[in-house]
């Protein structure tokens, strides 16, 4: 009963929505998130739930696949690093509010120390720990090796390595040219552009949240919700035919899922106007083209005119429009996800004639 409820609620629509709501709350209430009590409480809760989930055979099968073990390590590190960075940021914010220096900037911490032994011994310590960790991992878990390569028989599901599963999960919502090429390029360009867009001089060289709220919230949204979270779905909750399976569901390749996704042009012409699709490609897709144009050009211009003048003047045109483009690119993913979930929308612009589907 409980397991069925969890299976149901871990469907992307519910789990992703829950995740971003919790994320928004966390960003709002740093006074709670940035405390040790919260960190320990969350850790114990997660461990308890995870331990209970491990007792389920089908969940255990998926999670104990050798190549999935790195993801458990990733999750542990992502959890710890996110909380710890926010905790340290909150501690520094309290110090700054009291008129003190951030912890990294106290006279004691500004003092110079010898690299030998201070730095060199710390590095040695980390290297030894890491070596022990790797050797133990290597002894207890054999590297996977399946049957010899057979180009005529594809396994189902065929999955990319786990660090690309966020991208593979995007394939549900976007065509390969978007999910596999355009969005990754936007991610790389966006990351490289961060230092040139973010002109806030504060928070350079110490943990803080209050001094750079929007930068941190924006980055963490992309990192946690659109990258890490999608990797979890792609790895643990996608079975044969890339069908969704709850964590306690057996991967039965015969699970039937109603897939009746509809293009926007079909919504408009057939369902809306009750006429056949026009022969002319551009006329057929006119609504989607207008919407896309509106999203990429008209909406940003309007938003800028109405609310963005200050920011535009402060940042300069190049920075401002690059940021706008990157935000639009990033938000196109959750927008497309929700359009799919609510309206079973397949493509906003569907031009298979040019392989141009959006």
């Amino acid at each position: 009963m409980l397991k069925e409820a969890i299976n149901y609620l871990s469907a992307p629509l519910y789990s992703f929505t829950t995740f971003i709501v919790l994320f928004g709350l966390a960003m709002k209430r740093m006074d709670i998130v940035g405390t040790k009590k919260f960190g320990w409480g969350l850790l114990i809760t997660i461990l308890a739930i995870f331990g209970w989930m491990l007792t389920d055979p089908s969940f255990f099968t998926v999670i104990s696949t050798p190549d999935n073990i790195p993801i458990i390590i990733l999750n542990a590190l992502v959890f710890w690093s996110t909380w710890f960075a926010l905790y340290k940021g909150h501690q520094n914010d309290l110090r700054i509010a009291r008129g003190e220096q951030p912890l990294e900037g106290t006279p004691e911490n500004r003092e110079k120390v010898w690299a030998w032994p201070n730095l060199v011994y710390t590095e040695l310590f980390c290297i030894i720990l890491c070596t022990i960790f790797l050797i133990v991992w290597a002894i207890f878990f054999k590297a996977p090796l399946e049957e010899p390569a057979n180009p005529t028989w594809a396994p189902n599901p065929a999955k990319a390595p786990w660090y690309f599963l966020g991208l593979q999960e995007m394939l549900v919502y976007f065509d390969p040219w978007m999910a596999g090429v355009v969005l990754p390029v936007i991610i790389i360009i966006g990351l490289i552009a961060i230092p040139f867009i973010d002109i806030n001089p504060k928070g350079n060289g110490y943990y803080t949240f209050a001094e750079r709220k929007y930068a941190i919230a924006g980055f963490c949204f992309g990192w946690l919700a659109l990258w890490i979270f999608l990797i979890q779905i792609g790895t643990f909750l996608r079975g044969p035919n890339w069908t969704f399976y709850g964590p306690f569901e057996v991967w039965d390749a015969h699970k039937v899922v109603a897939e009746n996704n509809v293009n926007l042009s079909e919504f408009f012409w057939i369902k809306g106007l009750s006429v056949a699709l026009p022969k002319n490609i551009f006329l057929r897709e006119i609504v989607g083209i207008i919407l896309t144009f509106g999203y990429l050009v008209a909406a940003p211009l309007y938003v800028t005119k109405k609310w963005g003048q200050d920011m535009l003047a402060r940042m300069g045109a190049a920075r401002y429009w690059l940021l706008m483009f990157l935000v639009l690119g990033m938000m196109s993913l959750p927008i497309k996800m929700y359009l799919r979930w609510f309206f079973t929308l397949k493509y906003i612009v569907a031009m298979p004639e040019f392989e141009l589907n959006l």
Binding site: P70, L77, V78, S81, T82, A85, E104, G105, E108, N109, R110, E111, K112, V113, A115, W116, P117, N118, V120, E123, I127, C130, L134, I135, A138, I139, A143, P144, L145, E146, A149, N150, W153, A158, K159, P161, Y163, F164, Q168, D175, P176, W177, A179, G180, V181, V182, I188, I192, P195, D198, P201, N204, G205, Y206, R212, I216, W223, M351, F354, E355
Partner: protein, 259 residues
């Protein structure tokens, strides 16, 4: 007695020939040990206390470099046993598992590869959260992003080499993305516009995926290409960029700290 012995060793001609200075227990020798050693001179001689604290750096960048070095060593050892051909690749991996005593080299290499992807991600997260990409470190952040992408490509190209079902289908899924590249892949938008009469300029015989795989599917040519990319080409690029990255960490003022 042991202290006396250590002192004796430090006074031998051999010790002096190698290290050229006494044990690093005074200011002069502590400076000398870092400045005079080719490996240790990556470090500054002195640095701010905030920069050596594990609570600040998490040592993630350093560990990424360390894992890269272990991957280089285990990778070279694996190359002694592995031939990148469709005939031998899989059986060589079996042989590695069955016949090489105490064989955890492949495990160390595979888990290390996963670990490097993880540590480099967490390193980037830490650098972001401390605002360390801000001036004067903008350029080095960019170098870091390229290194992060190359780390994933290193891991990805290595994924094919065991030549089992897991390998070829993961690479098939991944490389199928390339065929959707706008204008450059035969399944991507715009490719069919590049036509002269009946002559198709971008087809599955010459698009980016073909260049990547050396064929229209993941076959023996792809295995050789990925092998060279994995063992020679990308590591060389990464090594150069790591040098630039470390150099710029020093030149941009060392590990970031409040201004």
């Amino acid at each position: 007695m042991s202290e006396g012995f250590a002192k004796k060793v430090a006074n031998t001609q051999v010790w002096k020939a190698i290290f050229r200075h006494g044990p690093p227990n005074n200011a002069r020798n502590r400076a000398a040990v870092v400045a005079g050693n080719v490996f240790l001179h990556l470090h500054p001689i002195k640095l701010k206390k905030s920069g050596v604290q594990l609570g600040y750096t998490w040592c993630m960048g350093g560990l990424t470099f360390f894992v890269f070095l272990s991957l280089t060593i285990t990778g070279v050892l694996l190359m002694f046993y592995y031939r990148p051909t469709a005939e031998y690749a899989f059986t060589d991996i079996i042989g590695l598992r069955e016949h090489v005593p105490l064989g955890i080299m492949r495990e160390l290499h595979r888990w290390g590869a996963h670990l490097m992807v993880i540590t480099v991600w967490i390193h980037m997260f830490r650098v972001f959260m401390t605002g360390s990409y801000k001036p004067p470190r903008e350029f080095n952040w960019g170098v870091g992003v390229i290194l992060l992408v190359l780390t994933m490509l290193l891991s990805f190209t290595g994924y094919l080499l065991p030549w089992d079902q897991l390998a070829i289908w993961a690479i098939t899924v991944g490389s199928n993305m390339a065929k959707a590249t706008p204008f450059l892949g035969h399944g991507g938008p715009g490719a069919m516009l590049a036509k002269i009469g009946d002559f198709v300029m971008v087809s599955d015989k010459n698009d980016v995926r073909f260049q990547l795989l050396g064929g229209r599917f993941v076959g023996e040519a792809a295995l050789l290409r990925f092998y060279i990319l994995h063992c020679v080409f990308i590591p060389l690029v990464v090594a150069v960029l790591i040098a630039v990255h470390f150099w710029r960490v020093r030149k941009d003022g060392g590990i970031s700290a409040p201004l």
